[in-house]
């Protein structure tokens, strides 16, 4: 008998297509989880990580079948159990926490009842005992005022609170093992950091084992003891978390880690060429076609998952020795590159005092002359220079998308002025001349949604060409399509493809090509990389930077990911509840003094480094509407001064006359500077504990010097 809680042996899962073709999902997966251990299972979309997670509970997606191997859970062969035996394990000994908590709660039952139901079913408690246990669980997941919380319905809880309730439900029977499938994906950074802290606490308190499935290496680094990396249905590396992030031995692991934008390194990370194959279709190593270490043996012989070094490090690579012979930290620094560009001292778009509201008073409220609620977006004054990238940063509900939609003419501004080449942009798109429409283009977050599934690439690119260049004939348009595809580094043959026949990254390239077909002056990018895998994200960022350089295009770039913003932006505007908090150059924003909200955001970021610990300043209580008066961040601010914050809109304070950096806060600048002393570059605190190359520190502290030399400490 092994001491493993879960022992996956040579598990192979596949399904047959309608054309009776066998498609593998998992290929001979071997994985052990010890009691009390947290395993991070990481990989990009489609690598089979969710299938593996579900297989551990004995679930198979309909149509899928086990083609070989077994899953043993404390000695039981999961796939040989009857449905009844499985039920006695599921929920009691092994529990699942799914990605979307809102979907897994019944909307018509109170939270308390749902959790009590789970307790009665799985923990054999009833009546008051179950009731007491429920309250105990709610306080264990740090929900404030558990008695009141139990009386609420799921929709009355925020996303983070819903996720906590689901965690409470999973803990009902004190299971030995929790499987978490991307439980924080889709939550705001601050909420995510709070939930991860909770999960760590729970592991410490209850000693339950966890398998944490995620695509986010920052999250994995934060929660895991051990990390297993998947690629094309195989586990290709399995080792201690520190090993994985310091000296990964598989070329794919390195490529993946190198493609993440980092706060500690400036510029755009390296991107990996190609895309993963369908599991089991490569004759040799599945990564060989994309691998720079690839040798002859790689394309002919499938590598085994073998133990290397001290035996705790498993890797599926023929050439791991040559991979490990280069130092990863050094390699990492070399792959980051910046793309030089020239910004003109000429403003492209100027917003002053812009106010946008979704509120449309109905007849009744007009008669009763009800007070209008505060506008969704208010008092936005910004200027964007030609050829520069301005990033709008903030959590969901911060008004980033609202502002961009107004710039695109999809929503009229209620007040204030937006000027673009002496033209007033505060009107809707139907009132703008075609030349203005042509000059402002929009790229959306999800290329699956922004490309018409019924048009092939040629038709998609034809739309702007026909609209803006009516004189072009068919042949000229065809030529232009091919040229555009080449500019986004796609083969001209892609013209005949439909969106369904392309990968996510390819689709986003087509969406970018469509925006650039208009030859625009300004491109509005709404979370353009958020829906993409990290390895693809880097390539898209690279492409955007290149395109910008070619035509001196202005970007307004929305993102919730502060590391991505650091990689691509020149200037940053931090928004909270539709109001500006801080505006400045990227160097200034990422170094002290900070606006309390910026500091909260930066503190909550997770970085792919297991030693790094996020610093949680403010609570993760979300706000649905901006406050009626005073500072927008008043209710969550960790440094609230008092009455003044509630009543008066804080003044803009310029940090340094020479630098473009302003903070909107009642706390005087000197005080903010003093407060940030010893806390500068929050994101480096964690790193400095670890063995880190001094060059990284020097590089980043140079940023500090730029804005405020006196805050720097050795």
């Amino acid at each position: 008998m092994s001491t493993c809680l879960v022992d996956v042996k040579d598990l192979t899962i596949g399904y047959y297509t309608q054309r009776k073709k066998l498609v593998h999902v998992l290929m001979e997966v071997n994985l052990q989880i010890k009691p009390g251990e947290t395993l991070g299972l990481v990989g990009e979309s489609g690598c089979g990580k969710s299938t593996l997670g579900q297989a551990m509970m004995g679930y198979l997606r309909s149509g899928s079948q086990v083609l070989g191997g077994s899953v043993e859970f404390v000695g039981h062969d999961i796939f040989n159990l009857t449905e009844k035996e499985l039920q006695s394990i599921r929920g009691r000994q092994i529990a699942l926490i799914p990605q979307n908590a809102g979907d897994s709660l019944t909307p018509t039952l109170r939270i308390g009842n749902q959790i009590t139901e789970a307790i009665e079913l799985n923990a054999n408690l009833s009546g008051d005992a179950a009731e007491n246990r429920m309250i105990e669980l709610l306080s264990q997941v740090r929900l404030p005022d558990p008695e009141a919380m139990a009386q609420r319905y799921p929709h009355e809880l925020s996303g983070g609170q819903q996720q906590r309730a689901v965690v409470a439900m999973a803990l009902a029977a004190e299971p030995e093992m929790l499987i978490l499938d991307e439980p924080t994906t889709g939550l705001d950074v601050t909420t995510q950091a709070h939930i991860l802290n909770l999960l760590r606490d729970i592991v410490a308190e209850t000693g339950t084992a966890m398998m944490y499935i995620s695509h986010d290496l920052g999250v994995i680094a934060r929660v895991s003891d051990r990390v297993a990396l998947m690629y094309a249905g195989e586990i290709i590396e399995d080792t201690e978390v520190a090993e994985m992030f310091r000296s990964p031995a598989h070329p794919y692991a390195r490529g993946l880690l190198e493609s993440i934008p980092r706060l500690t390194l400036s510029g755009i990370p390296h991107s990996m060429p190609g895309q993963p194959p369908i599991p089991g279709t490569e004759p040799g190593c599945s990564f060989a076609p994309r691998c720079k270490f690839s040798t002859e043996i790689c394309t002919s012989e499938v590598p085994e998952l073998r133990a290397i070094l001290d035996g705790n490090h498993l890797v599926r690579c023929h050439n791991w020795e040559s991979v490990l012979s280069t130092d990863f930290t050094q390699e990492l620094e070399q792959v980051f590159h910046t793309i030089g560009r020239s910004t003109h001292d000429e403003s492209a778009i100027k917003l002053s005092g812009v106010e946008i509201s979704y509120y449309r008073p109905g007849l009744m409220s007009r008669i009763k002359s009800e007070a209008e609620p505060p506008a969704t977006v208010s008092d936005i004054s910004l200027s964007v220079q030609r050829g520069e990238t301005l990033a709008l940063v903030g959590e969901s509900g911060s008004g980033k998308t609202t502002i961009v939609r107004t710039l695109a003419g999809l929503l009229p501004a209620k007040d204030g002025s937006i000027t673009f080449e002496d033209f007033d942009l505060s009107v809707g798109v139907d009132k703008r001349p075609m030349g203005i429409c042509k000059d402002i283009q929009l790229i959306f977050q999800n290329p699956d949604a922004s490309l018409n599934p019924r048009q092939n690439v040629a038709e998609i690119l034809d739309q702007p060409l026909k609209l803006y260049f009516p004189k072009m004939n068919r042949d000229q348009r065809r030529e232009r399509q091919i040229e555009l595809l080449e500019r986004v580094r796609l083969d001209g043959r892609y013209r005949l493809r439909y969106p369904g026949q392309m990968s996510g990254g390819e689709k986003q390239r087509v969406a970018i090509a469509r925006a650039f077909a208009a030859d625009p002056q300004v491109v509005l990018c709404d979370e353009v990389t958020s829906a993409l895998d990290v390895s693809v994200q880097a390539a898209v960022l690279d492409l955007l930077a290149d395109l910008q350089q070619e035509r001196n295009t202005t970007y307004i770039f929305i993102s919730h990911d502060l590391a991505v913003v650091k990689a691509i932006a020149d200037r940053v505007a931090v928004l909270y509840q539709g109001r500006l908090c801080e505006v400045g150059t990227v160097e200034a924003i990422y170094s002290p003094p900070y606006h309390p909200y910026t500091e909260t955001l930066l503190g909550a970021i997770l970085v792919p480094d297991p030693d790094y610990e996020p610093q949680l300043l403010a609570s993760d209580t979300p706000e649905l509407a901006p406050p009626a008066s005073g500072c927008s961040f008043q209710r969550r601010c960790p440094y609230r001064l008092g009455e003044i914050c509630d009543q008066e809109i804080p003044p803009w304070q310029k940090i340094d006359p020479d630098h473009d950096h302003s903070i909107r806060c009642h706390i005087p600048i000197d005080e903010l500077v003093r407060m940030s002393r010893g806390r500068e570059l929050i994101h480096l605190n964690g790193r400095s504990k670890s063995k880190v190359d001094p060059a990284v520190l020097v590089n980043s502290s140079a940023d500090v010097e730029l804005s405020k030399p006196e805050t720097e400490e050795g």
Binding site: R19, V429, D430, A449, L451, N452, D491, A518, A539, A545
Partner: protein, 299 residues
Amino acid sequence: MTTASPSAEITTTVKRRSPLAETWENLRRSWAGMLGLTLIIVHIIIAVTSPYWVPQDPYEMNAEIRNEMPSAEHIFGTDKLGRDVFSRSMLGGRVTLVVTMIAIVIAVIWGGLLGIVLGLVDGKADELIMRVVDALLSIPWLLLLLIIISVMGTEMWVQTLTFGFTYGILTIRVARAATLDFVTSDFVLSARARGEKKRTIVTRELLPNVRDVLLVDGSMNWSWMLLGFTSLSFLGFGVAPPTPDWGFMIAKNREIMAIQPWSVFGPVIMLSTLIIGINLFSDAFAKALGLDRSQGAPV
């Protein structure tokens, strides 16, 4: 600084097929769908060619062979006027098919376009027209048809337009609902942000996506329309005698059903095989287009 960016490699595994070819591939693998399609095609062939090959003259009355049971000469026997039921059954779908096929196209076009436009404009006009549609839909369909037909007359073109109009009302709702799924999608938003005209958005962005729903809805409505037309004929508002027509045949021959059941079975078999065919085809068509979620997306 190098800007070493990979050029995306073209993957050769993707077969370049248009969605239409894809749909046909999916449809071909469904035996029910192919059976349905075959039934429809056979019916159309019969309707077109039957006057040239039916064994007996469908109009010829013969008092000596009234109400006769099936024989080698008269496959479905004869009706009470001594006419050959088989020949009349073969010819009985001619008017029905012509009227309903033209009418369904009219219904899908006007109802579909109006529905899409209403889904896109989303304002006072939408509100007003949809309430009118609701009011019209609250009238039982047979009653509505009877009112229009009795006022306008029973000429073929009147019937065609009436059916096209009435069933178009049903299509408006379907088209509008399908459009609402797409108007807020990013690709329509993107077209609006480009400054595209409403007409372009309807024809280039919305129509290709709503088209599938309209086609399936149209083919399902076709079978309802057939029943509607047959019902009208049954009530005597359809085809003028002596032209053979299924509904009218059923109405007239039901009196002799006890003596010569085949005089009713003949037209019933013809009508039901056509309706079953249409329904089988519609279901398979919806699945082939990926509209039927329970089947999952085609692999």
